[in-house]
Amino acid sequence: MRNVAVIFGGRSAEHDVSIITAHIPVIETLLAGRKYDVVPIYISRAGVWYSDSAMNNLEYFKEDFEPKLRRLKPLQLSFEKGLEIIEPGIFGKKKKIDIVFPTMHGTYGEDGSLPGLLRMANVPFVGCDLSASAVAMDKAFTKQILSAEGILVVPFVWFTKSEWEADNKRILEQIARLKSPRFVKPVHLGSSIAITKVKSEAELVNAIEVALHYDDKALVEESVEDLIEVTLPIIGNNEPRAAEVEHALNKTEVFDFNEKYLSGGKKSVGGVNRAYSEIPANIGEEVTSKVKEMGKQVYRILGCTGIARVDFLIDGKTKKIFVNEVNTLPGSLYHHNWRKAGVSNMELIEELIRLAEERFASQKNTTFTFKSDILKKVGGPKIGA
């Protein structure tokens, strides 16, 4: 049997969410399918890599697992022949990983760091590649690229922490040109962490301070009133395929972390998904098909592969559709939505693995190197003279 390594945890605010996504549905489904040997790889909050077959069970992480980790030796990696993990011990048995299923949200995972590492290791991996991940991780980059391609986004202003500290007056002037109420967001964080809706100038400065406490770059954008917030999971490489348009039925002004992931005291039977949503969203056939079309366009523009989720803001009055952000690793892969769309967990996971292998094969056919005689010329009459 081939080995699939599921990598989760990580140095991220979404460490715990990642553990859930890894198990529900990925590891559970892979184990049920019995086609692969599942190698769970857990990266601690401190960035240490561990692997133990007991980690295939979510129960392992439900209680305090630090003592269990202390008994384990950290994992070593080798890139000699693709990706190999070296089991700790005197004999250091090597295990070749045939395919990687990254399920690390946020920093060091979804932001492109892990895809970058896996590219270096020359191993096929599920989900978006480095560049799409890195762009989508920055809400400002995403908006800039999309609006350059003619996709509607909400007017916004972005700035770095050092710019804010140096000259916040200029930035506040720019922000003043945006219609109120506004949203303040750290650009890199997911799961609605440190996002604030502000209605007055007094709230604004405070919200920016909060956002910059978590991130070194922030953005302020106009809020959409009569808001219908919908999201669309998409899979595919060259031919993206959309699931159902999903409408989050939460009445509060914005999701905060607790609502999104620890919602309403409801035990998350379906992984890390919102407890209350309407699938498919009741927004009419015309808007639905527009959303799906835009979603696939966004997917192509950012160069997404494998899976991603595009979030939209719809103005209930004007029916204008804005793209809000792109998430390259939807929590629990949004498998609850895919199931509604007629794609079972097994089909979803198998398709994602197939897509990973397809992309890997096509990259193999791309030439990345060429021979040159540039080195010989170093020290010659022209170069380096």
């Binding site: 489904t29 399918g33 019995r34 199931r339 769309a341 007629g342 079972s344 967990n345 097994m346």
Partner: protein
């Protein structure tokens, strides 16, 4: 033998496992021995069920522990032998697990001997009691469908008669005798299932019950391993016809082996009707079954919550019997509307948008055919059929399982889930032979298949679970 399986012989649970195996083999020493010889690891034999601590099982457990106690006592008394004792200890300890197994088999044989004497006594007492009662006695025999027939009759006749029938699947002399002892005496109709395990069984039960009417629900390969061939099964089941002589007998016309053996005066019932009654306008889906039951100038509207066209025959037979006993049509219709699925027999339930049809007590080819026909007739998003195959098919196993595969292939059911065992290959070759285009999934056992189910289904799917092998066949 691995260390783990060797150690399993010395765990306290070993004794419990032995008794569980004997109990699950229905105290058949032959079955028990075969299972024992096949087993390597005794710590995990209880997978599907748990041991039921009946007085009988408890008695055996006490006996075995007593034996262990005696051995321990003898060993302790020899402790003073010192070195020589150690020489003695090793072979005794090595042999002990096997001695326990042999002793248990011995107890079982002894118990069976005593039981048969006790049985004779109880049977005679039950026969005497029954002969003094005025109740109309109905006997049901057949390889399959007895419980369904019994439940349908009970529901229909109970509308205007006092009806009693043994609970569960009580169909052995002893359990029927116990049931007879529990009767009040004022019952108007008694319904009995006659178990057929060995030739002569049905005759023996007939002599005790003295039925006034008989129903043969069908003959097929169920229990074939014990009978050897189908002809012998048929003869045993038709001991009921022999006993009834010219009293009314109903025979299922959809079972070829049954109607071939039916005497001339027998009333044949099927999905087309029974006797001079005809079934028409038959409709079935997940909500149940409906048809009109007609004869010159009479029309009974049948509405049942039972699933599948294969229930038309038994329902028809029950209506015919009810008419014979003088029930008015309105009472019959009311009774029919109360018929519904029984535990683990074509019992539908919804789970998170997925319909699961639990037919896990259906372990025979005719029942499977009916289940496949029903599932194939449903309009669902996708349909799943889970089966391990059938047990006790004897020499017919390969033919029967190839046929199952062929029928599944022709049904158009999208997903087949096979629980792996000795017959899986035959089902697969049947599927391949008929060019099955759907998806085949494999699981080592039913619990794993069921827990994987939520990962392979989506809302709108229908899953039918046909048969669950008891542990001794796994």
């Amino acid at each position: 033998m691995s260390i783990q399986s060797f150690l399993s012989l010395y765990r306290p649970r070993y004794i419990r496992s032995l008794i569980y195996m004997l109990q699950t083999s229905e105290y058949d020493v032959g079955d028990f021995t075969a299972w024992y010889l096949r087993t390597r690891d005794f710590s995990s034999v209880e997978r599907r069920r748990k041991i039921a601590w009946t007085p009988k099982a408890t008695l055996f457990a006490v006996a075995l522990w007593a034996l262990v106690g005696i051995v321990a006592y003898i060993l302790l008394t020899f402790l003073f032998l010192g070195g020589a004792f150690l020489v003695l200890l090793a072979p005794i300890l090595l042999l002990l697990p096997f001695v326990l197994a042999v002793a248990l088999a011995g107890f079982a044989i002894l118990f069976a001997g005593v039981q048969s004497i006790v049985e004779q006594f109880y049977m005679r007492r039950a026969a005497l009691r029954l002969s003094r009662m005025k109740a109309f006695k109905i006997a049901i025999a057949g390889s399959f469908g007895k419980t369904t027939m019994r439940e349908i009759l009970k529901a229909v006749l109970a509308e205007s008669k006092r009806v009693a029938a043994p609970p569960h699947s009580y169909n052995t002399p002893l359990s029927i005798s116990r049931f007879v002892g529990s009767l009040k005496g004022d019952e108007e109709v008694l319904i009995f299932e006659l178990g057929e395990y060995y030739p002569g069984d049905v005759r023996k039960l007939c002599e005790m019950i003295k039925p006034d009417l008989g129903i043969v629900t069908g003959v097929n390969e169920a229990h074939l391993e014990k009978f050897g061939d189908l002809e012998e099964t048929a003869e045993t089941i038709f001991e009921l016809a022999d006993y009834l002589n010219d009293k009314p007998l109903y025979v299922n016309g959809e079972s070829e082996m049954a109607w071939k053996h039916a005497p001339e005066h027998a009333i044949i019932y099927s999905c087309a009707g029974s006797g001079d009654w005809k079934a028409a306008h038959t409709k079935t889906d997940l909500s149940g079954l409906s048809f009109s039951f007609q004869r010159e100038g009479e029309d009974i509207a049948v509405r049942s919550k039972l699933l599948g066209v294969h229930n038309v025959g038994p329902l028809s037979a029950a209506i015919h019997v009810a008419k014979r006993l003088g029930l008015p049509n309105t009472a019959i219709e009311a009774g029919l509307s109360k018929t519904k699925a029984f535990e683990h027999r074509m019992q539908a339930r919804a789970e998170g948008g997925i319909v699961i049809i639990d037919d896990s007590y259906n372990g025979n080819p005719d029942g499977a055919r009916a289940a496949i026909t029903f599932l194939a007739g449903l309009s669902a998003k996708r349909r799943f059929y889970i089966t391990p195959g059938f047990v006790e098919m004897g020499a017919r196993s390969e033919v029967v399982h190839r046929e199952l595969g062929r029928e599944l292939a022709l049904s158009g059911i999208e997903h087949i889930v096979l629980i792996q065992n000795s017959v899986t290959g035959h089902i697969e070759s049947g599927l391949a032979g008929a060019n099955y285009h759907g998806k085949i999934l494999h699981f080592p056992d039913m619990p794993q298949a069921l827990s994987a189910l939520k990962h392979v289904t989506t809302p709108g799917d229908v899953v039918l679970i046909q048969n669950d092998w008891p542990d001794q066949y796994a």
